[in-house]
Amino acid sequence: MRSKLSLITFALIVLLPAPWVLAQKGNSADEKAIREIEMRWEAAWNRHDVAAMADVYAPNSDAINLAGEWFQGRDAFRKSLEELHSGKTQTSVWQTERTEIKFLSPEIALVHVYANSHGDRNPDGSPMAPRRVILSRVEVKHGGKWLIVSSQATNIVPRASAWAHRASQIAGE
């Protein structure tokens, strides 16, 4: 009896997958909710609705913008968005290109987003060229609701070598 129970316990321990293996798949409702965050962010950005933008972030979230500024807490990030959308990005148009989701647990997801924007302005007020960005976000489901707890944005720099290669191809054509 004892050995049988020990065997069962042992089998359970051995067969029990590690938590990160067990948790790789979120369900489709979670995936949908995470994609909706990006749709809500895009819509809020394009109507310059700072409250709605901040709404997809958790109160204690961390956000790092394209300039490498780190905002600790939703309120700090919201304040910076208010400044941006009454200045450099007041006519900016955001377009989400692609959202990729990796569940780290059923309640934690790593989300990569490709996006582009146009209609932004430089600090001197001159029009900024359209740009592409990539964001890494960590999102957490709390009380049934997904929110961003960490986000960092980086400008995508066109590859100099790729351009040079293309230029030499054109020159050779």
């Binding site: 300039a67 490498g68 780290l104 934690i108 990569h112 600090p123 980086t154």
Partner: protein
């Protein structure tokens, strides 16, 4: 009795997965940041690759996304033999925040000096910020995701 003991043991084992981070975890994560700095300054791509998960996602300051340890190591090899061959990494601040006992978000400020630009000219020392998502796998903390952004001086953004 034996059944109860066995079940209790099993419950404790399961509970351990869901408990709070252990006191040594934050120290281990800070050690990970120190190991990153050391491996970078030795220009050792294999040592850097040992600090990341097999399916790690790395987005660099140019917005290029390396997927998985192999791609990461390949890119690091090119960089450490190229523009980063004489660069010095200095981590100036590490902030750790646990999301659950096995996952944490780490913010790091770093400075890089001695780096070459894509044209091969010397870049002035500069400051950057990284968000790491770190995960505890088989008792070891590893970098599961990373994104880096250069910090732009305030007057120019």
């Amino acid at each position: 009795m034996q059944l109860k003991l066995c079940l209790l043991g099993l419950c404790l084992l399961l509970a351990a997965h869901a408990s709070h981070a252990e006191p040594g975890d934050e120290r281990a994560i800070r050690e990970l940041a120190a190991q990153w700095e050391a491996a970078w300054n030795h220009h050792d791509p294999a040592a850097l690759a040992r600090l990341v998960t097999s399916d790690a996602d790395f987005v660099n300051v140019r917005g290029a996304w390396a997927r998985g340890r192999e791609q990461f190591e390949k890119n690091q090899t090119a960089q450490q033999e190229g523009n980063e061959r004489n660069s010095t990494w200095k981590t100036t601040e590490v902030d750790v925040r646990f999301v659950n006992p096995d996952i944490a978000i780490v913010h790091t400020y770093w400075t890089l000096s001695g780096e070459l630009s894509s044209e091969g000219t010397a870049r002035p020392p500069h400051l950057g910020i990284i968000t790491w998502t770190v995960a505890k796998r088989d008792g070891q903390w590893l970098i599961d995701a990373s994104q880096a952004t250069d910090v732009v001086p305030a007057q120019s953004h």
